[in-house]
């Protein structure tokens, strides 16, 4: 049991269940069904004001609010951590407005809301991963007009997406993009996976979990249903590759997880540690170490 784990409890009075009114939640669920039916396609929705600033992932929060029910177990992570201010306040928001059980355990959670990471622990069927998305449009780099990007998606004209990859190889000798790396969903729609590291892209491919994406400010929802192909864009002679320095986590020794460089103590010592705090803690516990939070 950690501070993130809290049993289901009473709701704070004066709010509708999960804050949004039932009509709004139904409307979001309807849009989500459409998104699931057209994997990777952006569906406009009428994003609501939420009691937190837009930069805080209001798109993801609205998705979670529309789906959550009393039997759900919620996990919230921000850059892999259950413990940041953002994650803590979103988790508290749902504990108070929906009375749900919350957890840090990836395995136990039925809904995981995330900003900028996919958990290291593999997801399973029945789980829902909700991404907070700042910028949903993958073609914006070369095409500022919304009417035009909509047309390009409709006609599956994705040449310009390759232009931006070409530019990276021409300039840096390789595809330099290390996060928010564009993917083709179901061999049809080009999609931004939100600013997750490209290290996480392979986890999206044929994931048994349902992946939902919510962009609050830009008013867009999109989805990747379970077991859908998610392919990172690349050239035949410049394949998609994850390049990580050959390092291990200084706390749990993991060699297969995404690491952050962090300041470990007051003396300013820098260490590398798993960005996924729960994964790291589990591994430390399994080795009989006294758990240090990254």
């Amino acid at each position: 049991m950690t501070a993130m784990d809290r049993a289901a409890g009473p709701r704070r009075p004066g709010y509708n269940y999960a804050f949004l009114d039932e009509a709004t939640k139904r409307e979001i669920r309807r849009k989500l069904l459409k998104a699931v039916a057209i994997p990777g396609h952006q569906v406009p929705f009428s994003s609501r004001e939420m009691p937190m600033p837009p930069g805080w992932g209001t798109g993801g929060i609205q998705v979670t609010a529309s789906l959550i029910g009393p039997s759900d177990v919620l996990k919230v992570i921000d850059q892999g951590s259950d413990d940041t201010t953002n994650a803590v306040s979103i988790r508290r928001f749902f504990a108070e407005t929906a009375g749900v059980e919350t957890t840090s355990s990836t395995r136990r959670a039925s809904i995981i809301q995330t900003r900028h990471r996919v958990p290291e622990t593999p997801l399973s069927e029945g789980q829902i991963l909700v991404f907070q998305v700042p910028l949903p449009e993958p073609l914006r780099f070369l095409e500022p007009r919304e009417s035009e990007t909509r047309k390009l998606h409709a006609l599956a004209e994705y040449g310009s997406a390759y232009v931006s990859l070409y530019e990276q190889v021409a300039r840096h000798g390789r595809i330099a993009q290390s996060y928010d790396y564009p993917v083709m969903v179901g061999a049809r729609y080009l999609m931004r996976p939100s600013p997750i590291p490209s290290f996480d892209n392979p986890k999206l491919d044929r994931s048994p979990a349902l992946l939902l994406f919510g962009a609050g400010r830009e008013r867009r929802l999109y989805a990747v249903p379970p077991y859908t192909s998610v392919e990172s864009l690349s050239f035949e002679d410049r394949p998609f590759r994850i390049e990580l320095p050959p390092r291990r986590c200084d706390l749990c020794g993991a060699t297969d997880s995404f690491l952050d460089e962090i300041v470990a103590d007051d003396a300013g010592t820098r260490i590398f540690a798993c960005s996924d705090s729960e994964y790291c803690g589990e591994r430390q516990r399994a080795q009989g170490l006294s758990v240090v939070a990254p």
Binding site: E157, S160, V163, Y166, E167, A170, E236, D237, R238
Partner: protein, 270 residues
């Protein structure tokens, strides 16, 4: 002895027009635009369209290039991909497909036809990528080849056109269009705004390319010198209509319509 028609060698087969425009009208009101334009473009031919400012030349070309929607008329085109098609009735998907593979459009203002912040190589490679080329090495090789064919220094392949001179931008725009080896090139004042010496070199280049590539072109200009150098035939427009049509030499030596006569007299030294 008679041969069945199907076994005629192509060279002997009756030639089909590449593009046949009939009654094309775009009415901007107050008599502006272009009206009842009809002409035929044959394979390998360069057709000039001349006329004073406001005659409707760009309007006509924009309709053909898909940048404006005509009010009336049709344009039948012999497509490599789709066979005979009427271009104004095409689905958007097909029209765009043709526009990036079989057609080229060279704008007077190169900034309209280029991505100014993307490298020269990326500009040239874009149509190939849109057509499904996914091999970086071959994109690179073909971009290099086309830069050189347009006499652009291959060392500039990674520079954006914002760092290019006007003449270089225009050549880059042409390379970007020709890389998919289109059959039909539409050009609106491709040498406008360039120094005379730069113009002359570009015209020379264009002439060589068109002849070497089995390309047909419609070239809009107000410069009869350009027409004399490049065009097989010429249409003279005034007030949105065609007032004269003929072989270039014929129209330049012996213009029939008073407007053509004025145009020739004003530009060509007697």
């Amino acid at each position: 002895m008679t041969l069945p028609a199907t076994s005629l060698p192509t060279a002997l087969a009756p030639e089909q027009p590449l593009l046949q425009v009939r009654g094309l009208t775009k009415d901007y009101g107050a008599g502006r635009g272009c009206r009842d334009i009809s002409f035929t473009l044959w394979p390998g031919e360069i057709l000039g369209i001349v006329g004073e400012s406001g005659a409707g030349k760009s309007t006509l070309l924009d309709c053909l290039g898909g940048f404006a929607v005509p009010d009336a008329g049709r344009a039948d085109y012999a497509s490599r991909l789709f066979g005979p098609v009427e271009i104004f009735g095409l689905s958007e998907a097909r029209r765009r497909r043709l526009a990036r593979s079989e057609w080229g459009f060279v704008h007077q203002d190169a900034r309209r036809g280029l991505r100014m912040s993307v490298s020269a190589g990326g500009n040239v490679g874009e149509r190939l990528m849109a057509e499904g080329e996914r091999h970086y090495g071959s994109l690179r090789a073909r971009a290099t080849d086309w830069l050189q064919r347009l006499e652009l220094d291959a060392d500039r392949i990674d520079d954006p056109p914002s760092q290019f001179s006007g003449g270089m931008r225009q050549r880059l725009q042409i390379a970007r269009n020709l890389v998919t080896e289109p059959r039909l090139l539409l050009m609106d004042e491709p040498t406008g705004g360039l120094d005379l010496s730069v113009q002359a070199r570009l015209l020379d280049l264009l002439r060589g390319l068109v002849r070497g590539l089995d390309l047909s072109a419609v070239l809009v200009t107000h410069d009869l010198g350009v027409v004399r150098l490049l065009c097989d035939r010429v249409l003279v427009m005034e007030g949105g209509r065609i007032v004269e049509e003929g072989l270039t030499d014929q129209v330049l030596e012996d213009p029939q319509h008073p407007h053509s006569q004025r145009l020739v007299a004003s530009i060509l030294p007697v």
